[in-house]
Amino acid sequence: MPTPNLLAELSDRLIYSAIAVYALAMLAYAYQAARRSHPVPEDAPRLEAVAAGAHAAVRDPQPPTAGARPAIRDAAARRTERIAAALTTLAFALHLAGVVSRGLAAGRVPWGNMYEFTTAATLAATSAYLVFLRRRQPVRDLGVWVLALVTLCLGLAVTVLYTPAGDLVPALNSYWLVIHVAAAIIAGGVFTVGAAATGLYLLRRRADARDAGGQATRGYAGRLPAAATLERLAHTAHLFAFPVWTFAVLAGAIWAEDSWGRYWGWDPKETWAFITWVLYAAYLHAQSTAGWRGRKAGWLALAGYAAFWFNFVGVNLFITGLHSYAGV
């Protein structure tokens, strides 16, 4: 059995390696997004559809004779995408090993301070992305954004937030740490996929609105999946994450009752968990309200995601409360 110090050092190196591979995967996704042509209807064979110009002519002012080029570009894009997915999986494996060895080094769950929470929450975001990818959900275009966020957060974690592996302060010494924080981490990971899908949905929708005004969409937004697809994807992610987040908040309340004698005290952390919950609840209700469905609901979901992040970053760093204990 390696010593804790060795494990801690191994964990640090694994996280650094994961960052490097994530960055490569992100670049591969970005390259793939830049190379891909506009979507063509799926039911017609790709070459013929373009050659006949039936649908593509509307979206793509290229002359029909140039139709073969997008197909070649698509084949290249698909290869790049497979490379990106493989790199993401490799980075995920390194990241997972890093988080696990950190837990072994500290002899407890690896989410006891802000550094560890960041590494675990970004791991959850990558896992959520990979699970959606495995289940053949149309998340491919989210890849570059999810990985950009993961890479950025991990970079900040190792530079600004880094804390060496160690024991916990007594306030965190509870099995509720395992339950409550794990649920928050999982919800955060899936919310990340939901937020990325919502952001792209809003982009694509705006492009569609311009299309209706007679302007064919060129550029990034025009190459995204259909707005309905992205909206459905975002909805699926939020439908999963919302009950998990609800559970995280309720488990936190039970822990608070055990620790401070009241299950709800409007501590800043609790308040922002509540705000996050209410905004996502508003999103779910807006999704079945005429006039709110779609664009406004999308903004509510993004507001919920922003509140989730503020709860982690803003409340930890700028507001004093009962949840300020783990240092940074």
Partner: protein
Amino acid sequence: MTEPIGALPGNAVAGAAASRPAGDTLEDTALSHRLEEAARPGVMAVPPRPTGQGLAAWARWAWRTLTSMRTAVLLLLALALAAVPGSLLPQRGVAFDPGAVTRFLADNPVVGPWLDRLGFFEVYSSPWFAAIYLLLMVSMTGCVLPRAARLWQSARAEPPRAPTNLARLDDHRRATVAAERAQILQAAASHLRARRFRVVVEDDSVRAEKGYLREAGNLVFHLSLLVLLFGVAIGSLFGFEGRVIVVEGASFTNTRLQYDEFTPGPLTDAEGLSPFSVTLDDFTARFETAGPQRGSARDFQADLTVLRTPGGAAEKVTVEVNHPLQVEGTKMFLTGHGYAPVVSVTDGRGQTVFSGPVVFVPFDGNLSSEGVIKVPDGQPTQLGFEGFFLPTASVDPAAGPRSLYPDLVDPQLLLTAYTGDLGLGDGAPQSVFRLDKTNLSQVMDGDEPFARALRPGESMTLPDGQGTLTFESVSRFANFQIAHDPGKELSLVAAVALLLGLTVSLAVRRRRVWVRVTAAAGGGGATVEAASYALTRREPVPGELSSLLAALPGAEPGGSGTSPHDRED
């Protein structure tokens, strides 16, 4: 074809959406609207203005507006926004730091009082915050209860008839089957029944519906929110919260007078508190001794002797952070600790007029503490001392006296002295942690204020024989929070129901399936059309229709049709 969906640019849905009438979403076709309204008529946006005259029409309109979904969304948004200021401004009664509001008011003499008048220091008990959540609860109840009635009706009603044009539904398949119509319908019905659909067989079609549990879950979720609010209300009306500091060796009896701070609800029986008492036998604290987190707390433990009832059997109990003492419905939590230097004071006559531990309040992570010692029995003059206690002392010329480590490595007591009138005689309440210096004069040592640093066992003598103070030893004290919340069991039950209801309502897909059989053109077998419609905003269960068609007698595998969401075809 099993190529990953991700490899297809735009994928299948792009094509399906293009073939639909232009509109906001898939639900915007006339048919979908009709179906949706049949399923959730309560979910209207905003009702039309009243057409009739008089109060009743307006009242009906107001009620419909309040219980509409759009109002609910707006109220939720308002609730989220209203909760924000409470996390940014200091709050009375809920704050981490009880003095924060007073300090904020002193620092902001212009804006502060206005914020105070508008309730911004008590956001969560302010009338406007209450107005939002009460309106939300009324809106929710008004929306959910009629829905419950409809659920009851629809649970007893048959699934509705098939629309004329099945091809316009979300998911639609057509297949040619070499079998008799009755045989096909029977097979379809039994296939659907086996999957727990509610099924009605007609001459030429089968109609089926499933997922009523979703509505039930939705109902349970919303009603548990009401119960949860009720539980919270019981807790804040009948419960209490209090804080007390207990020094090693001292006792606390659970009566209102012994609390340092006691916050009862409006209906709390403050005289009927659970009559237990505790003695703090010993307090131990362990800190990280090395490494970058040196000085971080690792372990706190309060060893108590508990009498659960007056005159009952004494019982040894250990209370730790996250492990409270529970006596009936009252819980006692360890929330903090600090040091109480034990001092003895003799006055100008040479008589010992004070002896015992004095609580010094910690103000940083290394337990640098400040406090005062009041000696009202001193003669010829009363004595007051003010200063710092440092468990590991260091006097930094810039930062002043600071402790370097939270444990007792080099404990020192740094004091200055005052003589005169402590101001205790007039009965006005004053803080035990502060000297009222109006009638006190500082003891001088030449031109400098008299100040001494003492280690345990050392004494200091005031000039002119005004008295002596001996720093005998150091005790520890523990902060306890004591709480009683009679509503918490109810809240817990509500919370569990809430979570279950929510999960069910989001996980179950309520949907209808129709199968229609017509004679195939050109004879020989029959044409089967199957279609499904989701009553929730989720994609239909993948492969549900294909497996239905595959289960029919004489079916060819597959079947063709518009199936925007099946990913396997």
